[in-house]
Symmetry: C2
Subunit: 354 residues, 2 copies
């Protein structure tokens, strides 16, 4: 490996005697600034950092990152575990990961991405902690029986979560999306369109996120005095959404609108509506959650709840950086309200319902 990097100097005649001083002189900054680039990059303004880095690259100056890391006991890396991709694709993973990288880089961190291993949920985390490969972790997709927060606390490993604690005492800082508020926004929107009889298709009970969204539906329906024509619970797949919606729509007194816990189930519901030779949004309204690429398709045009993932990335990195700088501080909890994106599935130009 080293051979590769060494070769560059010989090939391109970069100054073999490149030093901290020669970089500082050429970049028009102090030697302290060049040193900061390596040891405390957050102290250097971004534009200056970029200029000095370009000069470092041009001169081929190599301060040796490992020696520096040894001195300051810092890897400069934030660990994040990627989920295995689902067949339907992960609607929000790429957006969240990109915002995570951008936010980390503003604080002079990089993201170390790793996959879960088949050796149990904590094996990959254990590996990275044992290797001192990261300064801390960002986690997402927190569950009711999530063991990670306690595990981090026990080992004194700094972390921040995208996703709140769904049971047990609070541990660590988190940012989350207010799913109940997102679903309630869909219910209020439907109530304002005149709908009086709604149904909900949710996930199996016991998932923190799913139960929260279902609660948002129930509470908003009560608040608006709407009739509930049924609440179904099913796994997150088009076919199951289609089946659940078919049953709800076959009732003697069917709902005029179906609120779904996800876009996957909402698209299944959309199909069930078409199966009855009805037009989604014109004859029966339907809403989803996550504003996936499917929701935006002209043939689907699904009203859906959009998570502000750019903000989530910014916040979660800030929470982790706070934990790294001051491990004793009280962890912060942030709840963001998502936005309803209205499309034809509720607001159809030829709408006849309710």
């Amino acid at each position: 490996m080293r051979r590769g990097f060494e070769r560059s100097k010989a090939d391109f005649g970069a100054d073999r005697a490149a030093t901290l001083a020669s970089v500082a002189a050429a970049a028009g900054v102090s030697r302290q600034t060049v040193s900061n680039i390596f040891n405390a990059p957050h102290k250097v303004q971004l534009a200056t950092r970029r200029r000095v880095e370009a000069e470092i690259a041009r001169q081929g100056y190599r301060p040796n990152r490992s020696a520096r890391s040894l001195r300051i006991q810092r890897s400069g890396l934030v660990g994040y575990c990627v989920k295995p991709p689902s067949p339907a694709g992960d609607p929000i993973m790429d957006r969240f990961v990109h915002s995570l990288c951008q936010a980390a880089e503003r604080d002079a961190y990089h993201v170390l991405l790793f996959a879960a291993t088949p050796d149990g949920p904590m094996a990959a985390y254990e590996h990275l902690v044992a290797q001192q490969a990261v300064d801390g972790f960002v986690i997402s997709d927190t569950t009711v029986d999530d063991a990670r927060q306690e595990w981090f606390q026990r080992r004194g490993v700094p972390f921040a979560a995208f996703g709140r604690r769904w049971s047990g005492p609070e541990i660590g800082a988190w940012i989350d999306i207010d799913g109940a508020a997102g679903v309630a926004a869909a219910v209020h929107h439907l109530a304002e369109l005149g709908h009086r009889r709604l149904a909900f298709i949710g996930w199996p009970e016991g998932s923190g996120v799913g139960d929260d969204r279902c609660r948002g539906f129930r509470e908003a329906a009560v608040e608006r005095g709407l009739a509930v024509a049924g609440i179904a619970h099913t796994v997150n797949h088009y076919d199951d959404g289609r089946r659940a919606a078919a049953e709800l729509l076959a009732q003697a007194d069917p709902p005029t609108a179906v609120v779904c816990v996800s876009d996957e189930l909402a698209v299944g519901c959309d199909t069930a509506i078409r199966d009855r030779d009805l037009v989604p949004g014109r004859d029966v309204a339907v809403t989803g959650f996550d504003d996936t690429s499917s929701a935006a398709l002209p043939t689907v045009s699904l009203t859906s709840v959009r998570q502000p993932l750019q903000e989530v990335g910014d916040h979660v990195v800030r929470l982790l950086v706070d934990a790294l700088r001051d491990p004793g501080a009280d962890p912060e909890h942030v709840l963001l309200v998502p936005e309803l994106v209205v499309r034809h599935s509720t607001d159809h130009p030829d709408r006849t319902v309710p």
Copy 2:
């Protein structure tokens, strides 16, 4: 930061005198094996590695990664730049990144993920090379005027590409998907269904990937003796696909099938077919490329070309590891043939065309 990790030993009474020997004894392996976990993890079988790592975590043994890194001049990290997410989502990014992480971990590497910066295409690479943050890079989405391969070569930075060189001399190893063969498979499938008059909707000319897929269409059409009812070039957006398809279908002698360079354009074409009160797959056939989650929607059910991304991840890491171990070796080039996934948009149960 260090405070956090230190705390764990005190809190949980892990052996303060944990040593290489104590870990080796408890895990039932030699001291050399424990040493290898840190210095040459690829030499240790995965199951053994996991067992020893669990023991390292249990005892709280800390060999200090930075000291090790200094000794062996290796970060253990592979850099990969994530693209900014497009509004439609990236159909293949999450699948490729996950397979990249898994493959890297089999070779005892981790993936350092970073975002492009607004300071030009190479600024982020410059930064990581200057910091010696990674041992090498994996790149994807290679373009006709891609400057990265030459930049890496000039600096002696090891890399491997998902995506071939589209111009200039070969530099470095790559793996790619044979897009021309994928589109040709769609044409052969349509020819076998009896279609004799096809059109193609592609991207603007000049993109390596797009031109390659268009070539696949032209050559397969000639090979099967099919008439070409038009070749359109447009940016990759539903609305543009819809517009281009509307023009092709409005011709005096319209195509019975439209082959599209992407699922986005194919979904636009699907809408254009419905705009004419025709049913996609029954009255006019349409195919896409990438087998995105939209293609699998029951309301779309699009025949599409699926890229074997798991295999791509495996190969690209192998190519990079080869470059790291033997920088002087001849770089390898691998072309994988993708698979056609047939759905209702060509093979409709009530098909009346051709």
